[in-house]
Amino acid sequence: MQRIVDKINELFANGTVDRVLGWKVGEFSYDRTPYVFTKEGGLDGFAYDSFCANNLSKYLIAESRKEGKVLVLLKPCDTYSYNQLVAENRIKTENVYTVSIPCKGKVDVEKLKAMGMTGITDIVENGEELTVTTLYGDEKVNRCDVLCEKCLACQKTAKECDEAIEGEAYEKPHKDRFATVEELEAMSPEERFAFWRKELSKCIRCNACRNVCPACSYIKCVFDNDNSGIASKANTDEFQENMFHIIRAFHVAGRCTDCGECSRVCPQGIPLHLLNRKFIKEINELYGEYQAGDNTESRGPLTSFTKEDCEPSIVYEKGGK
């Protein structure tokens, strides 16, 4: 973190940037809020640690339209979102200074809570071990057991930025990112239906998944637009739950970088990334490996084609059981 602070101060001092989009400490040892630090205000409260999970790239849509140059801190996964947003002309790159920063995976406090730790007053990180102080006693957990879902299968390395701050080497978690998708595919349709009913019925339509998503940066979403014909504000029927999530996933298909923010922010813990990853997996298998945000030029798989593409009937053969 010190190296990041030093670098920012250097760039403040030499006038390269005017503002910094980073994270600010909160009330607990684990809550971090995206924050714009200014040259004048300094870096008071700045933090970069295992709890800075937010993908900051989406904030650049607004921040890059303001006067002056804004420095953005991008974790490796966020660099892809940044590229994708640039590809979609959402960011005025001339006003942005990108700095890639190292990441060893972020800690998901919800997981600690699910392990029964409540009343958390402090979390101290010591290498691969976390010491959690709670009102009801202290506990130790392995860092790798409480990583965010999105970090468990993350193999991303940072794309090119204006500046790169390297971190120490570390062993990436090696969960296969499609393992759960494959498990679901192996189920019977009835089992799959039951699985998704159970998950999606939790949805409260708070739109956190949508609003946090860098790919969902539309001025007015079809679900908010009464003229779209499919606007709806609440899950008034099972169908509306399914519909919302199918369309949400479909609208980001081929553009989703798999940053995993949707699942992370879902207050109901719905594994939304499994919908996105299904599309990613299908695209990879049917149209060739594609990573959204890998660069700012290539066409998305759903806005391109080859004459030899498979027919939709492949779903009958290839689809789940």
Binding site: G26, E27, F28, D31, R32, T33, P34, Y35, V36, N54, Y59, A114, T118, G119, I120, T121, T134, L135, Y136, K198, E199, S201, K202, I204, R205, C206, N207, A208, R210, N211, V212, K220, D224, S232, K233, A234, N235, T236, E261, R264, V265, P267, Q268, G269, I270
Partner: protein, 345 residues
């Protein structure tokens, strides 16, 4: 006071179910919500906070209001039946119980919201004292005693036993009907309950937000707070999602929508969020155009406008759900701490 061992708790549920619908904190797909009890439900009375609050029982997220049937060029209006089975909601914590009072002040004031009133009339609230408060709890700031919740029946869950203490006529009536499932509690039990309450209270005092200062929100600084420059800082990270609103026990705004079924219209209302860009959208546009204004509205309403219309009662019960769930960790506590002191301090 009556008691029942948690081993036999299903008998209690079954007894209640005989005459009424029963809502309990039930776990499904890893999350606990108030939901209708069924035989295979996993009841989690031990869980402190459900994701959504208990307000669903009286103010559901979506609720049919009326129906229009279209037949040729004729339209039939089908009003709501006004009929509803009595129900019990159990396991409500002190904060949520207090939220009912806050909602009552909105919906039971003239003009009375008949849908809400009907549910209030048919519903019986069984509250439960808190056992293990969390770091995000701050109900005490609003004068709520987590160990003495207000409801038709108060319950305590201590060492695998549920203690049952009817408070109101409604509560006593139900208790009589199902008395056979209970044993009587004795003085020893009273002591156990008291000890548990004392233990909880001791922890409450140690909570990080126990001493949150609300003094600036005394109804006298409305414009000063409204115009405060620091809103511009606070709102900045806000995504404009409705998570805080939808997990909040006291948020009471709704939107009315029509659903065209092809044979007519089903008119329903559903929760709305002042964080949404189309909130209170009117023909001329929106009266709060920026996210800053929307963000400010939510907290001004909870901490300033509502109290000024309701004898100083805040529209927040300190349940801490928004603190837990906000995707960007911005919440009412941070707002209180920032706005609670004047800018030049």
């Amino acid at each position: 006071m009556l008691k029942i061992s948690m081993e036999n708790i299903d008998k209690l549920y079954a007894a209640i179910k005989e005459s009424r619908d029963l809502f309990l904190p039930i776990e499904s797909a890893g999350q606990v919500q108030f939901a209708e009890y069924t035989d295979d439900a996993v009841v989690r009375l031990d869980v402190l906070k459900t994701v959504k609050s208990a307000k669903d029982a009286f103010f559901p997220q979506s609720e049919d209001l009326m129906e229009f049937k279209v037949c040729g060029k004729e339209i039939d209006v089908i009003p709501p039946s006004g009929d509803m089975k009595e129900f019990v909601i159990m396991g409500v914590k002190a904060c949520d119980a207090k939220s009912f009072e806050i909602l009552d002040r909105v919906y039971l004031k003239e003009p009375i919201d008949s849908y809400y009133a009907l549910r209030r009339e048919k519903g019986l609230v069984v509250v439960q004292a808190c056992g293990r408060p969390e770091e995000s709890c701050f109900c005490n700031v609003f004068g709520i005693d987590a160990t003495a919740p207000v409801g038709d029946v108060v319950t305590y869950l201590v060492d695998g036993t549920l203690y049952w203490d009817a408070q109101t006529e409604k509560g006593k009536e139900l208790t009589e009907k199902i008395a056979s499932v209970f044993d009587n509690a004795d003085a020893n039990d009273d002591a156990k309950v008291e000890a548990s309450k004392a233990e909880t209270k001791a922890i409450m005092e140690k909570l990080p937000f126990a001493n949150l200062d609300l003094s600036r929100f005394n109804g006298e600084n409305m414009m000063e707070i409204f115009k405060d420059e620091r809103w511009n800082e606070l709102y900045k990270a806000c995504l404009g999602c409705g998570t805080c609103t939808f997990v909040c026990p006291t948020c009471q705004c709704y939107d009315i929508k029509d659903y065209d079924t092809g044979h007519g219209i089903k008119r329903f209302r559903c929760w709305d969020s002042c964080m949404y860009s189309d909130f209170t959208m009117m023909a001329h546009g929106n009266n709060r155009n920026s996210q800053m204004e929307r963000f400010r509205q939510r907290f001004m309403h909870k901490l300033v406008y509502y109290p000024s219309n309701n004898e100083g009662i805040y529209s927040c019960v300190g349940c801490g759900r928004c603190v837990n769930k906000c995707p960007i960790s911005m919440n009412i506590v941070k707002v209180i701490k920032t706005m609670g002191v004047t800018d030049n301090e």
